[in-house]
Symmetry: C2
Subunit: 253 residues, 2 copies
């Protein structure tokens, strides 16, 4: 009997601000960390500009190849918020202000010091047939169309929306990871042993990540992080012991 597979997910970051370098994205890591314990593995991320054709292409591509897709950004009330219309276009659905979303906004703003402007009512534009996603921070909902979850870009709001959709996600086999940090080592010295270990444990994915710390005066502290990942915890424990032994023999060698 084969073990259940991890469920896969993709992320589409709709983000001129990320591409310009002005803002560093933190949603990718936040979503990856949220999905991991659910047994859902991130397999691809695309960061694209705020243009409808780019959004349509990326969402269609990842929707076809991943079990789930999460988009972030472009759900607000301003002219540059074009995600809802782009998602409707990607799935060939109509889009208009929807009564359920409008009611949420009306209720939200009735309890705030802000008024519902026509601009804010844009945030009630939801593609036909979409399922709403609760926004506990600022009211305006996200939504789900087929396997695509459309989240706000503000990390705090995106996080709240993830909590709301967790129960809609089919869970898979959780990928566990172990890591061994080796100071004062070079990965070239352990590459042969690592390669053999990987060949002996094909269901475990073993990665080697060198790191460097600038100590000043042209001096460099360097080491390696060895990371093993897999769904089979007993196999992973065997690999972890082997990595520890490798670390012992190379640490400060």
């Amino acid at each position: 009997m084969s073990a259940p597979k991890p469920v896969t997910a993709g992320i589409v970051v709709i983000g001129d601000e990320i591409l310009s370098g002005r803002t560093r994205d933190i949603n990718v890591q936040q979503i990856a960390e949220f999905l991991a314990p659910l047994g859902i593995s991130l397999t691809e991320v695309r960061i694209i500009s705020d243009h409808q054709p780019a959004i349509i292409e990326a969402v269609q591509a990842l929707s076809a190849r991943c079990d789930y897709v999460f988009t972030t950004g472009g759900l607000g009330p301003t002219h540059d918020d074009i995600t809802a219309d782009a998602i409707a276009a990607a799935f060939k659905r109509s889009i208009d202000v929807r009564d359920d979303a409008k009611a949420i906004l009306e209720h939200w703003y009735a309890n705030s010091d802000a008024a519902i402007t026509p601009a804010r009512m844009r945030m009630a534009r939801i593609p036909e047939g979409a399922v709403l996603i609760d926004n506990p921070v600022t009211g305006a909902p996200g939504f789900q169309v087929e396997n695509v979850f459309v989240l706000a870009g503000v990390p705090k709001i995106a996080r709240g929306m993830l909590e709301d959709v967790a129960d809609r996600l089919t869970r898979g086999a959780v990928t566990h990871s172990v890591s061994v940090r080796i100071d004062n080592a070079r990965e070239g010295d352990m590459a042969a042993a690592l390669g053999k270990l990987q060949s002996a444990h094909p269901t475990i994915s073993i990665g080697s990540y060198p790191w460097f710390e600038d100590l000043g005066g042209g001096k460099l502290n360097r080491g390696v992080a060895l990371v093993a990942r897999g769904t089979d915890t007993s196999e992973l424990a065997i690999v972890e012991m082997a990595l520890e032994r490798l670390g012992q023999s190379h640490r400060d060698a």
Copy 2:
């Protein structure tokens, strides 16, 4: 006469470690910030897993649609470093240990306390016809094939490699940006005015980015960052003044 256009670039982050959430990528922002003053604008980023078919697909797609592509990651001596072979496959070129790369490694290790192992010699595997990229940190070179620059994943090394290739890049019109921060404001209140301003200045890209600070006790400080970007500095100055006026009228309104 039309002004010169920005040159475009894409990034392919080859990164199981980023997708797992274990590591937060900083190369995207680093490369975007390096390219901006050269008049090269980042238009798409893909973060993909360490698998050859994924690398080939992403590199081919972005190489066809961007002026330049930068890849990060997968250039080291261990079994999980598969980028060089994947790039060769993407461009249907042969790959082998190349004398010029081998000479660089031999010279580098002759001046270090490490030996050239067969694993390290893998780092001299370079696709046929590729142009080498200097690595001032750890010796092993990156390389360029057509419009694709293959960089290491360690940010410090990637940075050094960017410096080496700067002179190979055609420069475009620099996209400048201005930003206005408005405390205690909501973007819904200024959306209509912003939309009009955007319509009046179609060559300038105006973005509105809400931000939230948790003050504790259920209290939220919120505001908006208005960002305008464009290549025409006089037009941009006009938009900046308009954004400042908008800020004045909504700040602490």
